[in-house]
């Protein structure tokens, strides 16, 4: 009981730190930074992942090989190692020191780009081959067929997986702690260093906050998945198609 009241007191006294870090007296941190980092990470990783997926599906070895190698390497290495590599390599390459936030963002874009590309590739492969045939028969180039016919369908079907990947990204931002990226975990540990006597309470708050954010997003992904599955089922009964009549249009196709 006293732990709970301690937690409430801690939140009452420090909610601003947990929310935005030391901003405006220092860099933006806390949960705001965690979310911005995750959103930017996934938003920037997404176009990269589409390019990697298309390269992996390409028959040209010049595209296929490097993309495949990148995906295998990134998937075969712990994220923490990737962070340390970027942390030491990027300043060497640029010749200047880089803020931890940027280092973490670069790492996340590479890492999520590789994982998302597998999701995108799967989504493309899962479409019936007749879609590509029909587009090519009408005279579309490979790129045109991808852009107007294949990707809009594949990406719509993949929305739940992309959302799940976003949840993973949020959890992965905690590793930014090792290179002093000001985000939620970092803020909590600062708080712990300051209060010293209440680590259980502080890290319980931290866990609860992560859980609420990630659980609600996962739940959203589940609902989305069920919705799409239901619509696909209704579709199958009518004999064709992957998408429901009320499917939102991801790109203005015509």
């Amino acid at each position: 009981m006293s732990m709970l009241s301690n937690m409430i007191t801690i939140i009452e006294d420090n909610w601003l730190l947990l929310l935005i870090g030391q901003y405006p007296n220092g860099p933006l941190g806390g949960i705001a930074s965690t979310l911005i980092l995750s959103v930017l990470g996934i938003v920037l990783a997404f176009p990269l992942s589409v390019l990697i997926a298309l390269a992996r599906l390409s028959q040209w070895k010049v595209l296929n090989w490097p993309a495949t190698a990148l995906v295998y390497i990134v998937r075969g290495v712990p994220l923490l190692m990737l962070i340390l590599w970027v942390y030491f390599l990027v300043p060497l390459l640029i010749g200047d020191s880089v803020p931890g936030f940027v280092t973490m963002l670069c790492t996340l874009v590479i890492y999520e780009g590789a994982f998302l590309s597998e999701i995108v590739r799967g989504g493309i492969i899962a479409l019936p081959s007749g879609q590509m045939d029909a587009a090519r028969a009408l005279g579309h180039s490979h790129v045109g067929a991808m852009r107007y016919v294949i990707l809009p369908q594949a990406l719509y079907n993949m929305m739940p997986s992309i959302l799940s990947q976003f949840v993973s990204t949020i959890k992965e931002t905690t590793l930014g702690y090792v290179i002093n990226v000001p985000e939620l975990t970092f803020a909590a540990s600062q708080l712990n260093n300051r209060l010293l006597t209440k680590p259980f309470e502080i890290f319980a708050i931290l866990a609860i906050v992560y859980f609420i954010v990630c659980w609600s997003l996962s739940e959203l992904a589940n609902q989305l998945e069920q919705r799409i599955a239901r619509q696909r089922l209704g579709d199958d009964q009518s004999g064709t198609g992957m998408l429901p009549p009320d499917a939102p249009k991801l790109q203005g196709a015509t």
């Binding site: 019936p128 029909a134 090519r136 028969a137 005279g139 490979h142 107007y148 992957m242 998408l243 196709a253």
Partner: protein, 244 residues
């Protein structure tokens, strides 16, 4: 208009087309028939190079389809060959109108306004103007196939290819699709149509090609072919279909 000469096609070690020689003239309607697995789809898909061939030539309008074409030239050539699939292959994320407009706008750079007018005229022609805003999943099979025909016609192709356009339809919907194809034939469209609808073939075809095991075994006018097939395989095929 379309000429196959010495066409050989392999899937791995299996030979799906064996030394095919035949011609489709301008304005002609050719019906391709034959037992399942005889290579009909494969043959018709070589015309716009949806399937590659290993040797021989397919000429379309004097152009060699399988050699010496840059990819942009191949795309232009494909745009001039209307193709209708057994499974319709409409784009499920686009409305009926957008299905028909997509390729004129994106491939032929037609203005949206013009493309939309053409699309509505074609939908009217196939009797589906009232479904312009519907999505493919909201249509019956027969309606979807009629949209697919309109989509192909929107590119104003001089030739239409049909690969079993009615085979995946419920019987009561076959007629409405065949009626559209008949009206195209009446307008003098050059067509190649793989089908098992022998009454349709008898009425509409100028020429029937009978295929078996990757070979064209018999080419004849429908009257001759149906009443007096020469090849024993063709005789057996027709008696199995009970059309004699």
């Amino acid at each position: 208009m379309i000429r196959f000469s010495h066409v050989n096609k392999f899937y791995g070690s299996y030979q799906a087309l064996v030394d095919v020689n035949a011609t489709v003239n301008k304005g002609e309607v050719v019906v391709v028939c034959g037992p399942s697995g005889s290579g009909k789809s494969t043959l018709i898909r070589t015309v716009n190079r949806l399937e590659p061939i290993q040797s021989g030539e397919v000429l379309f309008d004097g152009q060699n389809v399988h050699a010496g074409l840059k990819s942009a030239e191949l795309n232009r050539l494909r745009a001039r060959i209307g193709f209708v699939f057994q499974n319709f292959n409409l784009f499920p994320h686009l409305s009926v109108l957008e299905n028909i407009m997509l390729s004129p706008v994106r491939v032929n750079a037609v203005k949206r306004g013009d493309a939309s007018q053409t699309a509505m005229r074609l939908l009217d022609r196939v009797g589906l103007a009232h479904k312009a805003k519907a999505y493919p999943a909201q249509l019956s099979g027969g309606q979807q196939q009629r949209v697919a025909i309109a989509r192909a016609l929107a590119m104003e192709p001089p030739v239409m290819l049909f690969d079993e356009p009615t085979s995946s339809l419920d019987p009561e919907m076959v007629g409405e699709v065949l009626a559209v194809i008949r009206s195209l034939a009446a307008d003098g469209m050059t067509m190649m149509c793989v089908t098992h609808e022998m009454n349709f073939a008898r009425d509409v075809a100028d020429c029937v090609w009978f295929m078996d095991a990757g070979k064209i075994l018999e080419i004849g006018a429908p009257a001759d072919f149906f009443s007096n097939p020469q090849h024993p395989r063709a005789q057996r095929f027709l008696s199995d279909l009970h059309v004699r």
